[in-house]
Protein backbone atom coordinates (compact mmCIF):
# COMPACT_ATOMS: atom_id res chain seq x y z
CA UNK A 1 0.00 0.00 0.00
CA UNK A 2 2.79 2.39 0.86
CA UNK A 3 4.49 1.41 -2.37
CA UNK A 4 1.37 2.38 -4.29
CA UNK A 5 0.89 5.62 -2.43
CA UNK A 6 4.46 6.69 -2.94
CA UNK A 7 4.38 5.73 -6.59
CA UNK A 8 1.23 7.76 -7.13
CA UNK A 9 2.73 10.76 -5.39
CA UNK A 10 5.95 10.41 -7.39
CA UNK A 11 4.00 10.24 -10.62
CA UNK A 12 1.94 13.27 -9.69
CA UNK A 13 5.05 15.29 -9.00
CA UNK A 14 7.03 13.91 -11.92
CA UNK A 15 4.37 14.23 -14.58
CA UNK A 16 3.79 17.83 -13.63
CA UNK A 17 0.16 17.02 -13.22
CA UNK A 18 -0.22 17.03 -9.50
CA UNK A 19 -0.22 19.96 -7.10
CA UNK A 20 0.69 22.70 -9.45
CA UNK A 21 -2.14 22.32 -11.84
CA UNK A 22 -5.01 21.65 -9.46
CA UNK A 23 -3.97 24.74 -7.63
CA UNK A 24 -3.60 26.72 -10.80
CA UNK A 25 -7.08 25.84 -11.83
CA UNK A 26 -8.40 26.94 -8.46
CA UNK A 27 -6.52 30.20 -8.81
CA UNK A 28 -7.85 30.81 -12.26
CA UNK A 29 -11.47 30.15 -11.39
CA UNK A 30 -11.16 32.58 -8.52
CA UNK A 31 -9.48 35.13 -10.75
CA UNK A 32 -12.08 34.84 -13.49
CA UNK A 33 -15.06 35.35 -11.21
CA UNK A 34 -14.53 39.12 -10.93
CA UNK A 35 -14.36 39.36 -14.71
CA UNK A 36 -17.63 37.52 -14.89
CA UNK A 37 -19.62 39.32 -12.21
CA UNK A 38 -18.05 42.77 -12.55
CA UNK A 39 -15.74 44.79 -10.33
CA UNK A 40 -18.00 45.42 -7.31
CA UNK A 41 -15.96 44.59 -4.18
CA UNK A 42 -18.81 44.41 -1.71
CA UNK A 43 -20.37 41.85 -3.99
CA UNK A 44 -17.13 39.88 -4.11
CA UNK A 45 -16.94 39.81 -0.34
CA UNK A 46 -20.44 38.39 -0.18
CA UNK A 47 -19.84 35.59 -2.61
CA UNK A 48 -16.19 34.98 -1.69
CA UNK A 49 -16.59 31.95 0.55
CA UNK A 50 -19.05 30.33 -1.83
CA UNK A 51 -16.85 30.86 -4.85
CA UNK A 52 -13.81 29.53 -3.03
CA UNK A 53 -15.67 26.38 -2.11
CA UNK A 54 -16.97 26.04 -5.62
CA UNK A 55 -13.52 26.58 -7.08
CA UNK A 56 -12.05 23.96 -4.78
CA UNK A 57 -14.77 21.55 -5.75
CA UNK A 58 -14.22 22.08 -9.46
CA UNK A 59 -10.46 21.77 -9.13
CA UNK A 60 -10.98 18.48 -7.33
CA UNK A 61 -13.46 17.31 -9.88
CA UNK A 62 -11.23 18.01 -12.82
CA UNK A 63 -8.39 15.96 -11.47
CA UNK A 64 -10.57 12.97 -10.69
CA UNK A 65 -10.13 11.29 -14.02
CA UNK A 66 -6.44 10.90 -13.30
CA UNK A 67 -7.24 8.60 -10.41
CA UNK A 68 -7.75 5.47 -12.46
CA UNK A 69 -7.74 6.36 -16.14
CA UNK A 70 -3.98 6.50 -16.60
CA UNK A 71 -3.49 3.19 -14.85
CA UNK A 72 -6.29 1.69 -16.87
CA UNK A 73 -4.93 2.77 -20.21
CA UNK A 74 -1.46 1.42 -19.78
CA UNK A 75 -2.65 -1.85 -18.28
CA UNK A 76 -1.36 -1.19 -14.75
CA UNK A 77 -4.82 -1.49 -13.31
CA UNK A 78 -5.21 -5.06 -14.57
CA UNK A 79 -1.89 -5.88 -12.99
CA UNK A 80 -2.80 -4.12 -9.75
CA UNK A 81 -6.03 -6.09 -9.65
CA UNK A 82 -4.03 -9.31 -9.61
CA UNK A 83 -1.59 -8.01 -7.00
CA UNK A 84 -1.99 -9.21 -3.42
CA UNK A 85 -3.94 -6.13 -2.30
CA UNK A 86 -7.67 -5.99 -1.60
CA UNK A 87 -9.53 -3.70 -3.98
CA UNK A 88 -10.85 -1.75 -0.98
CA UNK A 89 -7.30 -0.91 -0.03
CA UNK A 90 -6.51 0.01 -3.60
CA UNK A 91 -9.34 2.52 -3.88
CA UNK A 92 -8.59 3.94 -0.44
CA UNK A 93 -4.95 4.50 -1.34
CA UNK A 94 -5.99 6.10 -4.58
CA UNK A 95 -8.38 8.43 -2.76
CA UNK A 96 -5.71 9.31 -0.22
CA UNK A 97 -3.20 10.08 -2.95
CA UNK A 98 -5.73 12.24 -4.71
CA UNK A 99 -6.40 14.19 -1.54
CA UNK A 100 -2.73 14.69 -0.79
CA UNK A 101 -2.06 15.89 -4.30
CA UNK A 102 -5.14 18.01 -4.83
CA UNK A 103 -7.17 18.60 -1.68
CA UNK A 104 -4.40 19.52 0.71
CA UNK A 105 -2.78 22.14 -1.54
CA UNK A 106 -6.20 23.67 -2.11
CA UNK A 107 -6.73 24.02 1.62
CA UNK A 108 -3.36 25.68 1.93
CA UNK A 109 -3.97 28.05 -0.95
CA UNK A 110 -7.51 29.07 -0.05
CA UNK A 111 -6.57 31.80 2.47
CA UNK A 112 -4.30 33.46 -0.06
CA UNK A 113 -6.91 33.45 -2.77
CA UNK A 114 -9.51 34.66 -0.28
CA UNK A 115 -7.62 37.94 -0.21
CA UNK A 116 -8.30 38.40 -3.91
CA UNK A 117 -12.01 38.13 -3.26
CA UNK A 118 -12.03 40.38 -0.19
CA UNK A 119 -13.21 37.71 2.20
CA UNK A 120 -13.92 39.40 5.57
CA UNK A 121 -11.09 38.76 8.01
CA UNK A 122 -13.14 36.80 10.49
CA UNK A 123 -14.08 34.29 7.79
CA UNK A 124 -10.66 32.73 7.32
CA UNK A 125 -10.84 30.27 10.20
CA UNK A 126 -14.14 28.76 9.16
CA UNK A 127 -13.12 28.67 5.51
CA UNK A 128 -9.92 26.75 6.11
CA UNK A 129 -11.49 24.42 8.64
CA UNK A 130 -14.43 23.65 6.38
CA UNK A 131 -12.15 22.94 3.44
CA UNK A 132 -9.91 20.77 5.58
CA UNK A 133 -12.89 18.75 6.72
CA UNK A 134 -14.66 18.73 3.38
CA UNK A 135 -12.01 18.00 0.76
CA UNK A 136 -11.38 14.42 1.95
CA UNK A 137 -15.05 13.71 1.29
CA UNK A 138 -14.66 15.21 -2.17
CA UNK A 139 -11.73 12.90 -2.89
CA UNK A 140 -13.50 9.79 -1.62
CA UNK A 141 -16.74 10.50 -3.47
CA UNK A 142 -14.72 11.38 -6.55
CA UNK A 143 -12.90 8.07 -6.37
CA UNK A 144 -16.26 6.36 -6.49
CA UNK A 145 -17.18 8.31 -9.60
CA UNK A 146 -13.82 7.55 -11.17
CA UNK A 147 -14.22 3.85 -10.42
CA UNK A 148 -17.66 3.89 -12.06
CA UNK A 149 -16.38 5.34 -15.31
CA UNK A 150 -12.98 3.69 -15.50
CA UNK A 151 -13.55 1.62 -18.61
CA UNK A 152 -15.02 4.46 -20.63
CA UNK A 153 -12.70 6.32 -22.95
CA UNK A 154 -12.66 9.97 -21.98
CA UNK A 155 -15.26 9.30 -19.34
CA UNK A 156 -14.28 12.62 -17.78
CA UNK A 157 -17.45 14.53 -18.42
CA UNK A 158 -19.72 11.60 -17.70
CA UNK A 159 -17.92 11.27 -14.42
CA UNK A 160 -18.54 14.95 -13.64
CA UNK A 161 -22.20 14.39 -14.28
CA UNK A 162 -22.30 11.43 -11.94
CA UNK A 163 -20.21 12.98 -9.23
CA UNK A 164 -21.64 16.46 -8.97
CA UNK A 165 -25.01 15.55 -7.49
CA UNK A 166 -23.13 13.43 -5.00
CA UNK A 167 -21.10 16.49 -4.07
CA UNK A 168 -24.17 18.55 -3.22
CA UNK A 169 -24.48 17.78 0.50
CA UNK A 170 -20.79 18.33 1.11
CA UNK A 171 -20.88 21.59 -0.78
CA UNK A 172 -23.95 22.85 1.01
CA UNK A 173 -22.64 22.22 4.49
CA UNK A 174 -19.11 23.29 3.66
CA UNK A 175 -20.09 26.50 1.96
CA UNK A 176 -22.70 27.21 4.61
CA UNK A 177 -20.12 26.83 7.38
CA UNK A 178 -17.68 29.07 5.54
CA UNK A 179 -20.35 31.66 4.82
CA UNK A 180 -21.53 31.76 8.38
CA UNK A 181 -17.93 32.23 9.42
CA UNK A 182 -17.55 35.13 7.02
CA UNK A 183 -20.72 36.74 8.34
CA UNK A 184 -19.65 36.27 11.92
CA UNK A 185 -22.41 33.81 12.73
CA UNK A 186 -22.14 30.54 14.60
CA UNK A 187 -20.98 27.77 12.30
CA UNK A 188 -20.88 24.75 14.61
CA UNK A 189 -23.91 22.93 13.18
CA UNK A 190 -22.94 22.88 9.51
CA UNK A 191 -19.34 22.12 10.44
CA UNK A 192 -20.45 19.13 12.48
CA UNK A 193 -22.66 17.94 9.65
CA UNK A 194 -19.73 18.29 7.28
CA UNK A 195 -17.51 16.29 9.58
CA UNK A 196 -20.24 13.68 9.82
CA UNK A 197 -20.53 13.37 6.07
CA UNK A 198 -16.79 13.06 5.69
CA UNK A 199 -16.53 10.34 8.32
CA UNK A 200 -19.48 8.43 6.94
CA UNK A 201 -18.23 8.63 3.42
CA UNK A 202 -14.72 7.52 4.34
CA UNK A 203 -16.10 4.59 6.28
CA UNK A 204 -18.59 3.30 3.73
CA UNK A 205 -17.94 4.48 0.20
CA UNK A 206 -14.67 2.60 -0.41
CA UNK A 207 -16.68 -0.62 -0.37
CA UNK A 208 -18.94 0.67 -3.11
CA UNK A 209 -15.95 1.96 -5.08
CA UNK A 210 -14.18 -1.37 -4.76
CA UNK A 211 -17.27 -3.28 -5.88
CA UNK A 212 -17.68 -1.05 -8.88
CA UNK A 213 -14.01 -1.22 -9.78
CA UNK A 214 -14.06 -5.00 -9.65
CA UNK A 215 -17.00 -5.02 -12.03
CA UNK A 216 -15.20 -2.69 -14.39
CA UNK A 217 -12.03 -4.75 -14.41
CA UNK A 218 -13.85 -7.97 -15.09
Amino acid sequence: MIALLSRDLALAVRAGGGFGLGLAFFLIVVVLVPFGVGPDEALHARIASGILWLGALLACLLSLDRIFALDFEDGSLDLLATAPLPTEALVSVKAAAHWLVTGLPLVAAAPVLAILLNLPAMGYGALVLSLLLGTPALSVIGTFGAALTVGIKRGGLLMSLLVLPLYVPTLIFGAEAARRGAEGLDWTTPMLMLAGITCGVIAVLPFASAAVLRVNLR
Binding site: L148, L158, P165, V168, E176, T189, A211
Partner: protein, 243 residues
Protein backbone atom coordinates in the same frame (compact mmCIF):
# COMPACT_ATOMS: atom_id res chain seq x y z
CA UNK B 1 -49.57 -20.29 -7.49
CA UNK B 2 -46.14 -20.08 -8.96
CA UNK B 3 -43.40 -18.04 -7.40
CA UNK B 4 -43.16 -14.43 -8.54
CA UNK B 5 -39.56 -15.08 -9.48
CA UNK B 6 -40.79 -17.02 -12.45
CA UNK B 7 -41.62 -13.73 -14.09
CA UNK B 8 -37.97 -12.91 -13.89
CA UNK B 9 -37.62 -15.12 -16.92
CA UNK B 10 -37.55 -12.73 -19.86
CA UNK B 11 -39.69 -14.82 -22.15
CA UNK B 12 -42.28 -15.46 -19.48
CA UNK B 13 -42.26 -11.78 -18.65
CA UNK B 14 -42.96 -10.80 -22.22
CA UNK B 15 -45.77 -13.34 -22.51
CA UNK B 16 -47.44 -12.22 -19.30
CA UNK B 17 -47.12 -8.52 -19.88
CA UNK B 18 -48.33 -8.94 -23.46
CA UNK B 19 -51.54 -10.25 -21.99
CA UNK B 20 -52.07 -7.57 -19.35
CA UNK B 21 -50.54 -4.61 -21.12
CA UNK B 22 -53.61 -3.70 -23.21
CA UNK B 23 -55.73 -3.62 -20.06
CA UNK B 24 -53.30 -1.52 -18.09
CA UNK B 25 -52.77 0.83 -21.01
CA UNK B 26 -56.50 1.16 -21.64
CA UNK B 27 -57.20 1.82 -18.00
CA UNK B 28 -54.38 4.35 -17.89
CA UNK B 29 -55.79 6.26 -20.82
CA UNK B 30 -59.28 6.22 -19.39
CA UNK B 31 -58.31 7.40 -15.89
CA UNK B 32 -55.79 9.91 -17.11
CA UNK B 33 -57.99 11.49 -19.73
CA UNK B 34 -61.00 11.27 -17.41
CA UNK B 35 -59.17 12.78 -14.47
CA UNK B 36 -57.65 15.57 -16.48
CA UNK B 37 -60.94 16.45 -18.16
CA UNK B 38 -62.67 16.40 -14.82
CA UNK B 39 -60.02 18.59 -13.32
CA UNK B 40 -59.71 20.96 -16.21
CA UNK B 41 -63.33 21.46 -17.19
CA UNK B 42 -65.42 20.62 -14.18
CA UNK B 43 -63.72 22.08 -11.15
CA UNK B 44 -64.08 25.66 -10.01
CA UNK B 45 -61.25 28.11 -9.71
CA UNK B 46 -59.73 28.45 -6.25
CA UNK B 47 -60.68 31.62 -4.39
CA UNK B 48 -57.03 32.44 -3.72
CA UNK B 49 -55.13 30.94 -6.61
CA UNK B 50 -57.69 31.45 -9.32
CA UNK B 51 -57.65 29.00 -12.18
CA UNK B 52 -53.99 28.13 -11.61
CA UNK B 53 -55.13 25.52 -9.16
CA UNK B 54 -55.90 23.37 -12.20
CA UNK B 55 -52.18 22.90 -12.63
CA UNK B 56 -52.25 20.69 -9.57
CA UNK B 57 -53.68 17.83 -11.63
CA UNK B 58 -50.46 17.61 -13.54
CA UNK B 59 -48.00 18.92 -11.04
CA UNK B 60 -48.69 16.71 -8.06
CA UNK B 61 -49.13 13.38 -9.84
CA UNK B 62 -45.98 13.91 -11.87
CA UNK B 63 -44.03 14.91 -8.76
CA UNK B 64 -45.34 11.81 -7.06
CA UNK B 65 -44.31 9.57 -9.95
CA UNK B 66 -40.91 11.18 -10.23
CA UNK B 67 -40.12 10.00 -6.73
CA UNK B 68 -41.87 6.66 -7.03
CA UNK B 69 -40.06 5.86 -10.25
CA UNK B 70 -36.78 6.30 -8.49
CA UNK B 71 -37.97 4.09 -5.64
CA UNK B 72 -38.98 1.45 -8.13
CA UNK B 73 -35.55 1.64 -9.73
CA UNK B 74 -33.98 1.28 -6.32
CA UNK B 75 -35.99 -1.87 -5.60
CA UNK B 76 -35.25 -3.30 -9.03
CA UNK B 77 -31.55 -2.55 -8.57
CA UNK B 78 -31.53 -4.34 -5.26
CA UNK B 79 -33.22 -7.35 -6.83
CA UNK B 80 -30.57 -7.38 -9.53
CA UNK B 81 -27.77 -7.14 -7.01
CA UNK B 82 -29.16 -9.85 -4.78
CA UNK B 83 -30.77 -12.29 -7.19
CA UNK B 84 -29.36 -11.26 -10.55
CA UNK B 85 -32.59 -11.40 -12.50
CA UNK B 86 -31.99 -9.73 -15.80
CA UNK B 87 -35.54 -8.52 -16.16
CA UNK B 88 -35.33 -6.43 -13.03
CA UNK B 89 -32.18 -4.70 -14.21
CA UNK B 90 -33.79 -4.01 -17.55
CA UNK B 91 -36.95 -2.78 -15.84
CA UNK B 92 -34.88 -0.28 -13.88
CA UNK B 93 -33.31 0.83 -17.10
CA UNK B 94 -36.71 1.13 -18.74
CA UNK B 95 -38.15 3.17 -15.87
CA UNK B 96 -35.42 5.79 -15.75
CA UNK B 97 -36.44 7.88 -18.77
CA UNK B 98 -40.06 7.76 -17.65
CA UNK B 99 -39.05 9.03 -14.23
CA UNK B 100 -36.91 11.71 -15.82
CA UNK B 101 -39.79 12.93 -17.95
CA UNK B 102 -42.03 12.99 -14.88
CA UNK B 103 -39.44 15.09 -13.10
CA UNK B 104 -39.34 17.48 -16.01
CA UNK B 105 -43.13 17.80 -16.00
CA UNK B 106 -43.16 18.50 -12.28
CA UNK B 107 -40.41 21.09 -12.68
CA UNK B 108 -41.97 22.80 -15.68
CA UNK B 109 -45.50 22.93 -14.32
CA UNK B 110 -44.13 24.12 -11.01
CA UNK B 111 -42.11 26.81 -12.73
CA UNK B 112 -45.12 27.99 -14.69
CA UNK B 113 -47.17 27.96 -11.51
CA UNK B 114 -44.53 29.89 -9.66
CA UNK B 115 -44.80 32.86 -11.97
CA UNK B 116 -48.31 33.95 -10.82
CA UNK B 117 -48.00 32.62 -7.27
CA UNK B 118 -44.54 33.64 -6.15
CA UNK B 119 -43.72 36.11 -8.88
CA UNK B 120 -40.75 34.07 -10.01
CA UNK B 121 -40.11 31.11 -12.24
CA UNK B 122 -37.71 29.54 -9.93
CA UNK B 123 -36.85 29.78 -6.26
CA UNK B 124 -34.25 27.83 -4.37
CA UNK B 125 -36.89 26.30 -2.19
CA UNK B 126 -35.84 22.97 -0.64
CA UNK B 127 -38.44 20.90 -2.38
CA UNK B 128 -37.77 22.45 -5.75
CA UNK B 129 -34.05 22.15 -5.23
CA UNK B 130 -34.15 18.53 -4.28
CA UNK B 131 -36.22 17.87 -7.36
CA UNK B 132 -33.58 19.46 -9.47
CA UNK B 133 -30.99 17.22 -7.84
CA UNK B 134 -33.21 14.22 -8.47
CA UNK B 135 -33.29 15.21 -12.12
CA UNK B 136 -29.50 15.24 -12.16
CA UNK B 137 -29.45 11.78 -10.68
CA UNK B 138 -31.76 10.59 -13.43
CA UNK B 139 -29.54 12.12 -16.07
CA UNK B 140 -26.41 10.53 -14.65
CA UNK B 141 -28.09 7.16 -14.32
CA UNK B 142 -29.34 7.19 -17.91
CA UNK B 143 -25.99 8.41 -19.22
CA UNK B 144 -24.17 5.64 -17.41
CA UNK B 145 -26.45 2.98 -18.89
CA UNK B 146 -25.78 4.35 -22.33
CA UNK B 147 -22.05 4.68 -21.93
CA UNK B 148 -21.36 1.04 -21.15
CA UNK B 149 -21.50 -1.65 -23.75
CA UNK B 150 -21.63 -4.84 -21.80
CA UNK B 151 -25.16 -5.18 -20.49
CA UNK B 152 -24.32 -7.04 -17.31
CA UNK B 153 -21.56 -4.61 -16.44
CA UNK B 154 -23.90 -1.72 -17.05
CA UNK B 155 -26.54 -3.32 -14.84
CA UNK B 156 -24.04 -3.82 -12.03
CA UNK B 157 -22.68 -0.31 -12.21
CA UNK B 158 -25.99 1.46 -12.52
CA UNK B 159 -27.50 -0.46 -9.65
CA UNK B 160 -24.65 0.51 -7.34
CA UNK B 161 -25.06 4.08 -8.55
CA UNK B 162 -28.77 3.91 -7.82
CA UNK B 163 -28.07 2.71 -4.29
CA UNK B 164 -25.41 5.27 -3.53
CA UNK B 165 -27.44 7.93 -5.30
CA UNK B 166 -30.49 7.21 -3.15
CA UNK B 167 -28.51 7.67 0.02
CA UNK B 168 -27.09 10.92 -1.26
CA UNK B 169 -30.48 12.09 -2.49
CA UNK B 170 -31.87 11.73 1.03
CA UNK B 171 -28.79 13.41 2.43
CA UNK B 172 -29.20 16.25 -0.06
CA UNK B 173 -32.79 16.68 0.98
CA UNK B 174 -31.72 17.25 4.59
CA UNK B 175 -28.87 19.48 3.54
CA UNK B 176 -31.11 21.58 1.35
CA UNK B 177 -33.70 21.86 4.11
CA UNK B 178 -31.05 23.08 6.45
CA UNK B 179 -29.75 25.51 3.90
CA UNK B 180 -33.02 27.22 3.00
CA UNK B 181 -36.46 27.22 4.50
CA UNK B 182 -38.87 27.37 1.63
CA UNK B 183 -42.00 28.90 0.19
CA UNK B 184 -43.46 25.70 -1.12
CA UNK B 185 -46.69 24.09 0.02
CA UNK B 186 -46.39 21.49 2.72
CA UNK B 187 -47.56 18.00 2.01
CA UNK B 188 -51.27 18.04 1.29
CA UNK B 189 -51.59 14.30 1.18
CA UNK B 190 -51.61 14.01 4.93
CA UNK B 191 -54.52 12.29 6.60
CA UNK B 192 -56.32 15.48 7.50
CA UNK B 193 -56.83 16.39 3.90
CA UNK B 194 -59.60 18.86 4.66
CA UNK B 195 -57.00 21.13 6.08
CA UNK B 196 -55.29 21.58 2.76
CA UNK B 197 -57.24 20.74 -0.29
CA UNK B 198 -60.97 20.88 -0.60
CA UNK B 199 -62.87 17.82 -1.81
CA UNK B 200 -63.71 19.40 -5.17
CA UNK B 201 -60.04 19.43 -6.02
CA UNK B 202 -59.21 16.32 -4.12
CA UNK B 203 -61.28 13.72 -5.99
CA UNK B 204 -60.17 14.54 -9.50
CA UNK B 205 -56.63 14.78 -8.17
CA UNK B 206 -56.85 11.22 -6.91
CA UNK B 207 -58.11 10.07 -10.29
CA UNK B 208 -55.21 11.84 -11.99
CA UNK B 209 -52.71 10.30 -9.64
CA UNK B 210 -54.15 6.87 -10.39
CA UNK B 211 -53.88 7.70 -14.07
CA UNK B 212 -50.23 8.64 -13.75
CA UNK B 213 -49.49 5.47 -11.80
CA UNK B 214 -51.17 3.34 -14.45
CA UNK B 215 -49.42 5.21 -17.22
CA UNK B 216 -46.13 4.58 -15.49
CA UNK B 217 -46.83 0.88 -15.10
CA UNK B 218 -47.89 0.54 -18.71
CA UNK B 219 -44.85 2.40 -19.96
CA UNK B 220 -42.48 0.40 -17.81
CA UNK B 221 -43.98 -2.88 -19.05
CA UNK B 222 -43.71 -1.76 -22.64
CA UNK B 223 -40.23 -0.36 -22.32
CA UNK B 224 -38.97 -3.36 -20.41
CA UNK B 225 -40.17 -5.55 -23.25
CA UNK B 226 -38.27 -3.32 -25.63
CA UNK B 227 -35.11 -3.56 -23.59
CA UNK B 228 -35.45 -7.33 -23.36
CA UNK B 229 -35.94 -7.65 -27.09
CA UNK B 230 -33.08 -5.30 -27.86
CA UNK B 231 -30.81 -7.29 -25.64
CA UNK B 232 -31.93 -10.57 -27.04
CA UNK B 233 -31.26 -9.27 -30.50
CA UNK B 234 -27.76 -8.12 -29.61
CA UNK B 235 -27.03 -11.58 -28.30
CA UNK B 236 -28.45 -13.29 -31.38
CA UNK B 237 -26.55 -11.09 -33.78
CA UNK B 238 -23.34 -11.64 -31.90
CA UNK B 239 -23.90 -15.38 -31.97
CA UNK B 240 -24.68 -15.31 -35.64
CA UNK B 241 -21.47 -13.48 -36.38
CA UNK B 242 -19.52 -16.20 -34.69
CA UNK B 243 -20.98 -19.10 -36.60
Amino acid sequence: MASVWEYANPKKFIETTDRILPWVAGLAVVTLVGGLIWGFFFTPADYRQGSTVKIIYLHVPSALMAINAWLMMLVASLIWIVRRHHVSALAARAAAPVGAVMTVIALVTGAIWGQPMWGTWWAWDPRLTSFLILFLFYLGYIALWQAIENDDTAADLTSVLCLVGSVFAVLSRYAVNFWNQGLHQGASLSMDKEQNVADVFWYPLIVCMAGFVLLFVALVFLRTQTEIRARRMRALLARERLS
